[in-house]
């Protein structure tokens, strides 16, 4: 009886406006969302071919390195964009990040993922028309190259996520994508990968805590070796991933 009433109430509601936030949240983090994250290995493929990683035990360290560098370099951009999700802020952040990503492979990967996310978000989260207008404006003006971290922050901010959640979510998808790349490069099996992901979550949380809520002027590289290794990706003889 009660359930029926609730159903009736639900039917009267307009679509999506007062849908619990979690539906959008989980969808944004779901690997099925076609943002192309799985085309990227965050330098893992280059690290294997250049023998920086020589055994499965190195993978754990490598993933933590990726998270550390993501936290110090990109989290400030996610934070600032999610705090003030406006076209002006995005423009400023995008230009700044473009000058900061000095490794071409990483820069291209960031642009590819950001553009894809913006495209997906503009058509999926249609209850926020601003996403679509912003995308159209930027596409026609060419003022923005759609770097991933600020776009992710922007989308989170417009969807109404807490900035802590947005930042942790960015770390989560980074972790998810590297682990997924490791599986496809056959470094770990799917079950081992899941176990590893959970195991690293503690470190990931500590890194998130350390680097969250910082302004972009504090953004920096903390694992320069990673940046260099990723830069080698373009020279690999055969490759599976874009970066």
């Amino acid at each position: 009886m009660e359930i029926d009433m609730e159903r009736n109430n639900n039917r009267k509601r307009p679509a999506s406006t007062d849908l619990p936030l979690q539906w959008s949240q989980w969808q944004l983090l779901d690997s099925i969302l076609p943002t192309g994250g799985f085309a990227h290995s965050s330098g893992l493929e280059a690290a294997i071919q250049t023998r920086v990683i020589t055994g499965p035990e190195d993978l754990h360290t490598f993933v933590v390195h990726v998270l550390e560098n993501t936290g110090s370099l990109l989290l400030p951009f996610v934070y600032t964009a999610s705090k003030s999700p406006s076209a002006d802020t995005l423009c400023k952040l995008d230009r700044m990040l473009d000058a900061m990503l000095t490794n071409e492979v990483g820069r291209k990967a960031s642009v590819a993922q950001g553009s894809a996310l913006m495209r997906v978000a503009a058509s999926v989260f249609s209850e926020i028309p601003l996403l679509k207008t912003m995308r159209d404006n930027f596409l026609s003006s060419g003022a923005v190259s759609f770097h991933h971290a600020p776009i992710f922050g922007l989308v989170c901010g417009l969807l109404g996520f807490e900035s802590e959640t947005s930042q942790r979510a960015f770390m989560f998808i980074t972790l998810r994508d590297v682990i997924s790349a490791a599986t496809r490069l056959n470094i770990v099996g799917p079950l081992g990968a899941a176990a590893l992901q959970h195991q690293i979550a503690h470190d990931a949380e500590a890194i998130t805590e350390k680097w969250s809520n910082r302004g972009v002027e504090e953004a920096c590289q903390t694992v320069p070796l990673l940046d260099t290794v990723q830069g080698c990706h373009g020279y690999l003889f055969s490759r599976l991933f874009c970066s």
Binding site: T50, E68, E104, C232, Y235, L236, S238
Partner: protein, 302 residues
Amino acid sequence: METGKIVIEKVRGKSTVTKSFSKYPLKFIIPRKVGPSRVDAVWIYALTYGGGIVSGDDISCKLEIGAGCTAVLTTQASTKVYKSLGSKCSEQSLEAEIGSNSMLVLIPDPVTCFSTARYFQKQVFRVRSDSNLVLVDWITSGRHESGEKWDFTHYKSTNNIFLESDQPLFLDTVLLEQGSIVPLAERMQDYQVIAMVVLLGPMLRHIQGQVQEDVKRMMAKQLQGSPARWDRQMKSNTRRRGYCSNSFLDNRISLSIPEASIGWLGGIAGFVALFLKNGGTVEVPWICSTPWQYVLELLIKG
């Protein structure tokens, strides 16, 4: 208040120092006869009393290079950052304005931080679309003969390049500090030196091309053949033997060069990060003995 300032202008067709000021602990030496006389360049050696930077020192420098001038700023030996007292940090900052059609070559010896040292360096370059800059910024793991490897407490180096009206062109900050989740020494693996080389501007275009060619050739050699076969059962003891013999790490150097990417500027075409293994000896097969000598040799050749 800055501790040093140098202004270079074109006087009777030659790059000339028209203003030079420095105070403790900084000193400039500007010898006349460094390069061949046909080369128009001012050479500046920056030195500090005691051969290093003491905890709490704050050195700030300003450099103005007028239109059409060339200046080289270098050091006589590595910049040593001594042990820190308490939480005091040693700081060095440089602000350089590079005029139209002029060139700044900044080729210091590497920074060597002693154990527990804290060091912060910030270099800001303001350039025009036709300015030229060679920038080498490098750091060694420390006094590794005494067993100090990546043993300092804090190192932060910022290099920012801005175009007119504060447009960011290149922003880079590297932070290496103790107390992260992964220990610093582990983060740097077996590498003892990291170096960054920036080659910017139309006068350096041929060098950018040559470095890119060199890197392409080197990387092709490094990465040729079948990709590493992954063996999940591989034990850690086997990886020390044999498997690494042809290893990338053993060849002492890796590079990353994004191709001329910021198209509308036609500016930075080469950004090179060199990771040299066995830093103390700096054995780099394709470079003379230090990166900057390589750069200079190319400059002279060009």
